[in-house]
């Protein structure tokens, strides 16, 4: 490890560091741009040349969460003075927040879409990983007739591109009343992720020595107890890695969500760009919506990072 480095190696190291930095910058630039835009005043969002230095404002986020309408005339001085700070930033942009008859602030569609995304992605991830774990355990530990064919069949469900099945799925969903429901998307995403989850978990299950459970069986435990007490904790790394992948897939899914949902169960991905449609697009609001949308995956991945570091190698360097 701590071998003496030659000057050649040291130079090579420096080149490598520069290369890594460059790649990192290239990859992070769009994310930086989203974050930066979501704090810009509207008039600086699309300037040429791009604005890099600016005074950050919270107004895109206020606009993101509220319903607004264009101001025909600037607000009166008392109106402006009576408004809370977050309403003033909207006034400054030439818009006002829509209120109902009782003066309650009207929410935009974003919070409910965001909540839909969370419900659908989390539920389908739990289902896909849970069922995948059990299925993988069965395939890994027991002699299943036609195991290879079954596994291939499971994988083959993933081979059709989403676009091909989208229209038939839409027609079927409409027939059974599943379109624009949470359950509909949950079933769809679970089915979509299941093959992936089974295959990934099978790899992890195969890595866990079967001697662990056999020792427990001989010691007087049932197969179920052995599974929950011994196998599941050992598979935690694999479960974490699989869960992250399934969650990202479900969270980011766009095509099905666009076709299958329009209001009640609509998720954030089709909603965010739909705001572009009316009037001039407010890129700062779209950027702030995207920024918040990126957070759950980032947080989820961050929380599971220790498991992922070992899990991402797909068992290759497990001790």
């Amino acid at each position: 490890m701590a071998a003496v480095q030659t000057s050649g190696e040291r130079a090579l190291n420096k080149v490598a560091i520069v290369a890594v930095l460059l790649v990192t910058i290239i990859f992070l630039a769009p994310i930086y741009w989203i974050v930066a835009t979501s704090f810009k005043p509207r008039n600086l969002a699309t300037t040429i040349p791009p604005t890099v230095m600016f005074e950050p404002t919270i107004s895109p986020f206020v606009k993101l969460f509220t319903k607004r309408s264009q101001l025909r005339s600037p607000p009166s001085a008392e109106e402006y003075a009576a408004a809370p700070w977050w309403e003033r930033v909207v006034f400054d942009g030439g818009e006002k927040i829509v209120r109902d008859g009782k003066g309650q602030v009207q929410w935009s569609g974003y919070p409910s879409r965001f909540l839909n995304s969370l419900i659908i992605a989390i539920t389908s991830t739990v289902l896909a990983v849970g069922m995948g774990t059990f299925t993988a355990y069965g395939f890994s530990r027991f002699k299943v007739k036609g195991e290879a064919d079954l596994l291939f069949f499971i994988l083959s469900t993933r081979m059709l591109p989403a676009v091909v099945v989208a229209i038939p799925m839409f027609l079927m969903y409409r027939a059974v009343g599943l379109n624009d429901t949470h359950l509909g998307l949950i079933i769809l995403y679970t089915a979509f992720n299941l093959s992936f989850s089974v295959w990934l978990m099978k790899g992890f299950m195969d890595e866990i020595p079967k001697e662990y459970e056999e020792a427990a069986l001989v010691d007087g435990y049932t197969r179920m107890e052995a599974f929950f007490k011994i196998v599941l904790p050992e598979a935690a790394t694999g479960i974490a890695a699989t869960a992250v992948f399934c969650f990202i897939t479900a969270w980011n899914e766009y095509a099905f969500a666009l076709i299958m949902t329009n209001r009640r169960a609509q998720t954030a991905p089709p909603f965010i760009p739909s705001q572009v449609g009316s009037g001039l697009p407010d890129w700062t609001v779209i950027a702030s919506g995207t920024f918040l949308f990126l957070l759950p995956v980032a947080i989820f991945t961050f929380l599971l990072r220790n498991h992922l570091l070992r899990g991402m190698s797909f068992g290759a360097i497990r001790k």
């Binding site: 020595p209 662990y212 056999e214 069986l217 001989v218 010691d219 007087g220 435990y221 904790p233």
Partner: protein, 361 residues
């Protein structure tokens, strides 16, 4: 403690036959060693007794009861494996407590603590109790594994090559410890190994397994001195028994390809050995000795110095023969020596079947 019996056991996996017509009888309180090469079916036998596999044919009896319908949990056996029988997420104490906590025979907490402490004291691992098992050395791990077995006071201990992953010094030490432990507990042990030294030094009885069949069962002494066939003769003993093709001519052993003769007085013991019948002569290296007036001349091909003794490889014509001689014997490679054997110790095998003539009758 228990008496284990296997009757006419066969086991096939798909089209691979692991065991055929296996009979085994392990007495209560016996240290039985199942000896065989990798793939001979030792582990399968053990797993059948543990209830982790079901026999394709035949029956397993524990204390005279057919246990065909008993699961692994009900058989009340303990299993010690070469590796992987400890849970890496648990401490040593938790590992030792684990076998005492299943629902079907959960013990009271005080009893668990007492048994764990007692086992830890017996195996001298008290100082390790709070350590995670992945921070143990190989020897310590195997001690804990054995501990996991003894806390439960099972009816039988099944050990699947528990010492094979350890280094030589440790293996020797644990061998003695394990044997002492068995005597102390008075327990029935079934110990599986491919190491014939372990089998010889630990077993009350040894069963030699080859290609899914028991070739010979007996005390280590019987197995060593009176092997049933050439397989046992060549498998047991280090270096193994010399096996030389030849025939008897007028009370003398005439070696066919080696072209030498030795006196053979064991005619009485030889049973059906008639003159001219093709035979294999088996002689242990320690029963071959060097002597200046001995009948056969050979060249020293190789010398292995083991400290207490030297193992010589002698060359006669283009064949070789091993001899164990005292370490003080002064020999050099390519030196010409003369040797003879102890004719009483020669075992005769039928050339065709490989079976010892003493066992054939």
């Amino acid at each position: 403690m228990a008496h284990i019996q296997l009757k006419n056991i066969s086991k096939t996996f798909g089209n691979h036959t692991a065991l055929t017509g296996l009979d085994l009888d392990i007495a209560d309180g016996e240290f039985f060693v199942l000896l065989g090469e990798t793939g001979a079916g030792k582990t399968t036998t053990l797993r059948l007794i543990a209830g982790l596999e079901k026999p394709s044919e035949g029956q397993v009896f524990i204390d005279g009861v057919d246990v065909a319908d008993w699961g692994a949990a009900e058989r009340d056996v303990a299993l010690v494996l070469q590796q992987y029988s400890l849970y890496p997420r648990y401490t040593v104490r938790e590992n030792l407590e684990f076998p005492l906590k299943p629902k079907i025979r959960r013990l009271p907490d005080a009893e668990i603590k007492d048994r764990v402490d007692r086992a830890a004291r017996t195996l001298r691992i008290e100082h390790l109790l709070d350590r995670k098992t992945d921070r143990l050395s190989g020897g310590e791990m195997q001690r804990v594994s054995i501990g996991r077995a003894i806390v439960r006071k099972p009816r039988v201990f099944l050990m699947d090559e528990p010492l094979s992953a350890l280094d030589a010094k440790l293996r020797e030490a644990l061998r003695t410890e394990l044997k002492n432990l068995q005597i102390q507990l008075g327990a029935t042990f079934l110990f599986v190994t491919h190491d014939q030294i372990e089998a010889m030094s630990m077993g009350d009885k040894v069963g030699v397994l080859n290609h899914g069949r028991i070739v010979q069962t007996g005390t280590p002494h019987e197995i060593y001195n009176n092997p049933r066939d050439t397989y046992v003769a060549s498998f047991v003993g280090s270096p193994p028994m010399n096996l030389i093709d030849g025939k008897l001519v007028n009370g003398r052993a005439v070696m066919a390809p080696l072209n030498f003769e030795l006196p053979f007085s064991g005619g009485a013991k030889a049973g059906g050995a008639t003159d001219g019948r093709p035979l294999v002569f088996g002689i242990r290296p320690e029963d071959v000795y060097l002597e200046s007036g001995a009948p056969v001349e050979a060249r020293v091909h190789d010398v292995e110095n083991h400290g207490v003794e030297k193992i010589l490889t002698l060359r006669v014509g283009d064949a070789t023969l091993r001899a164990t001689v005292p370490a003080r014997t002064d020999v050099a490679i390519e030196q010409a020596v003369r040797f003879a054997w102890n004719p009483d110790k020669v075992v005769l095998f039928d050339k065709g079947s490989g079976v010892s003539l003493r066992h054939a009758s």
